[in-house]
Subunit: 448 residues, 4 copies
């Protein structure tokens, strides 16, 4: 079993040689606390399914400080880059990385790369910001990233490694989503090709919470809390008018986690539409008929739609942005128009209020629990880099911090499982029919 | 291996016979979503330790709706009781239980027991409140419990079961901590002795997060966020005066989880004192010497103390309260006096501001993420009870909702492991010496 | 002078005859506290302008309980109606009216009219909700109005007074804006025509803070605080991208008070556009040229636009809604398109993020200070109605609660004075040119 | 009348000679906006009382920028000092002063004095912090003062003026309470004695809102909002236990404004005890008898006590602190002990929970409305100083910003008027007896 248990190989620059700074040791030297040994691992699969033999076939390396490190703290030059859309907690991660580098290891050269990968490309880059603990002391109270961000340029690994070499950077922390980490993988491969002692360690960022092999992504909880504020407003508006409908669009390009979690956190939503569960608009078992029924029965309704839901219905889209993400049609504006049209057609009254909180959700500062997650992810990333790990991400899995090879991390993306517990609980909380499709008419009697 | 995998046996009243209400099925009957089968389980241990063969020896039953249920929804009479100290999210759990009973199963008789177990004892009880979905619709916006709570009386199982019989109660949901769940175990045993078809299902509550076999307890995150507000105030006060010290006491009788998490969430704390890590006050490597050094070096300091820390130093305590919990001496007031005395003795200036947020922390409403946890725990408890499970708790483990036999749940209590990752990260975040004991003098050079 | 001091005559149903319930008196009768006598008044104009003789020509009657009242508490039937758009604090005012009627005067018949004036019109009305203190105890924690609201129907005074007569309603509290209070005036006049003993007392509501003769309107502060959250997000987004622009639209149909106050509350806004200060888009001293200059100089910019600003530029509008309010073109979407177009035309980079917080701002619960204002306004309204005042509003002027005749209150509407202190401070805070018009080119050197 | 209208003479260093920087003018020079002329004034008394001739006998000079200024911006050296206890908004005022000095006038030399007046006294002072707009850009998000504060030393005017001379400081902004401003008056008088061109301009700070001639003091609203959180917790705890009492102590040494406003903002308080309204503990009409009655009738009670209330009952106190303020006995701890003792004596059950939020209330950041007030006060202070005003405070009166001579401002202190509107509304909101004294037994029937 042990061979399968080590499926996920972590890339390391070389054997660790330098003793770790002994901040945690006591005077007589016999109290060296809490080093992680390299064979401590965390299992990936924890389910015991019927018919499947109870066992585990793989695991990830545990994160944390090692007794011996690869880079010499006095000489190392670390850099941090933030890419892609904003997410609560980016500044917390930056702060944690700087604090750990400076306070834990005594690293003094830290560069903050401006505006994503373009800040590492000669000719278009802005000058990096020299970072230190005093400078980042209060940044966790602010949303966004003090470094700025941008999309794209992750495919220009050659130019980026040129810059890393020219600037004498030994460690690159990449804070970003799928595209960013794919870029990081390319950079690490180019580094390997040139045989350079440069570590690339990622901290995965996705406000949509669609990272595989992770309990949750940083910023997600804060985003959900912020979405709840918007949905509460929609609920208030729906209650405040005769036949009132509150319609809210939230983030979620390929996954409906924000919508699902916000729904369960407040239980005032009547219909949740997410990318993972297709629905029809018209017909006796379509969304609009159910919505009309609900408004007639209860006088109001709250509809929550993830931006990636119902894309087959929406005009627009088809092209991609600088990060390579598909540009979506606006399902919020689409529903804002077609719901009143349906009600008008049925001769029914309706008062629809549409709320698109957009960037308010992602530009919020991290809440306490996300701050904690960011602090520990940042610390884990520093420990990993200092002992020479590379081409990997840090993450939290089953409440343990782990090292995940980038190629494994980006190999899949989480989605809400329409047959899973989360969606089941959402459907029960909303009372919406599990399927709004006319080939599957619902018996739902709406006794809510 | 499979025999060890089923170490933890869940008690069930009898075989389930009644088909579950088919809220989630479609008309043609072929879409029965998301029933949990009785052999779906979740592993308990997920670590792969060096030298230990990679395998798992035990698991818990997965929570969720079953295809067939034990109680007839039309006839069942459920009751909810909340015991012990307040905790953010109690009202959310009550609301979720009522919503699920009424909306999911169509249960119409739900009683809210007043003021804990005493509300189930003839002669001292207040009349229960009849609960329904309309009544509890907005209670999640309020802290505390609409039912009221109290300590004690958990050992009067005979009288309580008398009341359950007399009132025709079939399901009792017990929301409370260790003592409460021990009481629930006694009640379930008395029920078994009388051979009654009454289910007892617990939802464990502890603001200290010291529940075993759980990722986290509901309300804990909200309490941490509230503690962060108090600690921020202490930080502001410490910075606002020459040689300023901010001293904050937070909850944590036997475990320092609130203190540890709050510290990592903000990283402005310089010393954390918790029950799990003993410390000395005096001497060259005692807490006071380190505190003095820190104030001299940096001009201020923030000290966070869990109420159960340093009990060997504090007068008072020794007796127990109505729940059987030991009454603690007040370490906050103790330090408030002895810190200035130490500085005065050294002829050093100090301006200490003491903050005891006390009930503010636990009386706060649940934040969004705790609300979600409560909603799902409440739902899981209803599903468990309706299919006849008894003498068990629901909980979240490795992000899965599970059934835990009460005797297993109360067999141990979590604490911060002084040799574990969490405390290591706390020590690194604060820069405090890992041990403040004079038999282990620290080399700490305070270059922070 | 005294004759001019009483310019503003309050309409009263008749001489007060019934002694006020003596909640505030002591046993021996010699301590009758705090009755307001009918000749206590509050001055309107408090400025002493150069050249103008220092004196005052008018005043309002002071609000508060009177020693003798007009209506018999045991018999009176009061009704509350909420009209127009939502506003933070509506539920607080409802709660305060009910609390004061029930606790202070012992009134037991209180009806909550559903969905605005249409709830008073036979044939289209929903049945009113019987209100009492227990029912409204927690509603101040929720945004919106528990009664529901709607626009229009204020001109159907005849039908409304029919309903008041038929239902035996003696007091009507009207919570709403200009249109609502004009409707209330018509209702009061119809009542006078029929010579009925029915009092109509208004509590003016306007989220735009454009009420004349008032320090501020309830809910305004909460709306500003909510707008600040959205603008902070825009600031974070602007900083987070190269050449980033954050554009936020806030409420303010005819007045820019929300925009002006939010700007001064945070000082991160660079351009504020309000209805009171016309601007040009193009040309060397137009808004777009200044915006481009600012982005080039500082790398980012935040633009805040009130919905009523720049209406001469925007297509759409021209017609009116059910309240008689002009429908505006969407200046936010307009700027969202034309700003990037301008930058593209100049060959300049820009990353614009647009935020329209819309209903989030007005559906928020009242903050503590607004709750206090609502509580006192509601109390003042009850005192006024119980002593027979009618065709009047309550309001706060110079920190005093006063009675204002409706016809005086609706005779004018406040706006931001482009030559006043508030706008001066806004212009200084933003650094924007005071005039963005090409007939008045600016010398502004942008040394910010 | 006009001579009395100018009772309050503002001290000015000399005639203004230097044209104000024309940030607000347009190119052709004909648009000079919004200068305040020196004879614009704001009336003080706005009441029209019965029998008193309608007129006004005094007024304050209006604040704002003048067309000509006294100090040359290029040369001036300004300093800011914060004294006494912390208060929400101090950092906002500092930020506003720095922003206005730098952006509006182009002043480049600004010193932040450390830790109050002691930062201006040779031998004990820490070196001042050089301030500029970039440095203070984000400080408004933090509570407290970045300069630090301390009590006392206001009487050492000679030494302080020595320092001002030696350091070449031309403007001193004093942020603090009564004692601080008395100190500022002494400093200004010493400056006058030495005939120096140094302006002293105060921004009055008092969390207790007891400033005379002001609508409200900055930070007060934020403190009230923070107090409401604590009182809500007490309410939750009171409801959560049989015969529950929540007891909260809030700030208010000589005035009960925080207690009164917090009570009206939430209306969940049953008894408010403030310094201005004496009460007796024992006897049939004492506080304890009323409290017992209330708990028996309604099952719970919330008691709010201002720290200065009931001082005749409390041991301790008598001496004064470094600011010359009397040290109070702790009425909170006193009631925490004597309430349960009373109930025990009566054989009645009680569960008292005591909350002392202490510094949490004053160390909170300013809310949006306080931030706005601070921004405008800071701006007004800069305008006043730049045109040579001295020995004065800025403040807001009747929604106008005014100049107040220090000797007038410190001549009196506001208190809650037991016969006024505010206390009347508080008594009505709580339902408590207006007098709890046995020489005035109450008829109160407690039908609440």
């Amino acid at each position: 079993m042990s061979q399968t248990a080590h499926d996920f190989h972590i890339t390391t620059l070389g054997p660790c040689g330098i003793p770790s700074p002994q901040k945690m040791s006591s005077v007589d030297g016999d109290f060296i606390a809490n080093w992680v040994t390299d064979d401590e691992r965390v299992l990936v699969h924890i389910h015991s399914c019927p018919g499947v033999p109870m066992g585990v076939t793989n695991s990830f390396e545990k994160a944390g400080p090692r007794a011996r490190i690869f880079f010499s703290p006095a000489d190392v030059h670390a850099a941090i880059v933030t890419c892609g859309g904003l997410c609560p907690g980016l500044n917390d991660v930056i702060r944690a990385i700087v604090f750990n580098l400076e306070y834990r290891y005594g690293v003094r050269r830290i560069s903050g790369i401006r505006f994503g990968y373009r800040g590492l490309i000669d000719g278009i880059m802005d000058e990096p910001i020299p970072l230190n603990a005093a400078l980042v002391n209060d940044i966790h109270n602010r949303g966004g990233t003090i470094l700025g961000s941008s999309r794209g340029n992750g495919d220009r690994a050659g130019e980026i490694v040129d810059t890393l070499e020219r600037r004498g950077i030994h460690i690159l922390f990449t804070l970003g989503g799928d595209g960013t980490q794919r870029g990081a993988m390319g950079i690490a491969e180019e580094i390997a090709r040139r045989n350079l002692p440069i570590a690339v360690v990622g901290v995965p960022k996705t406000i949509d919470n669609d990272i595989a092999f992770a309990d949750r992504s940083f910023g997600f909880e804060s985003a959900v809390a912020s979405a709840v504020t918007a949905i509460s407003a929609a609920h208030v508006e729906a209650l405040g008018a005769p036949s009132g409908i509150g319609l809210v669009k939230v983030m979620g390009r390929h996954s409906g986690f924000i919508a699902a979690h916000a729904t369960l956190a407040m239980n005032d939503v009547d219909f949740v539409l997410i990318p993972e569960v297709p629905f029809e608009l018209d017909g006796p078992n379509g969304f609009l008929a159910h919505l009309e029924m609900r408004v007639k029965k209860r006088g109001h309704a709250v509809v929550l739609v993830a931006e990636g839901a119902g894309q087959h219905l929406v005009a627009g889209g088809g092209h991609t942005d600088a990060s390579g993400n598909a540009v979506l049609g606006d399902v919020g504006l689409f529903l804002k128009d077609c719901i009143p049209a349906w009600f008008a057609q049925q001769g029914a009254e309706v008062n629809l209020k549409y709320i698109d909180p957009s960037y308010i959700i992602r530009a919020t500062p991290a809440n306490a629990n996300d701050s904690l997650l960011c602090a520990r992810l940042g610390g884990a990333a520093v420990h990993a880099a200092m002992c020479g790990r590379t081409k990997m991400l840090v993450n939290i899995l089953h409440n343990q911090f782990v090292h995940i090879p980038i190629e494994v991390a980006v190999s899949r993306r989480n989605q809400v499982n329409p047959d899973g517990d989360l969606w089941r609980d959402v459907v029960e909380a909303t009372g919406q029919p599990p399927l709004m499709r006319n080939d599957r008419p619902s018996l739902l009697s709406y006794n809510l």
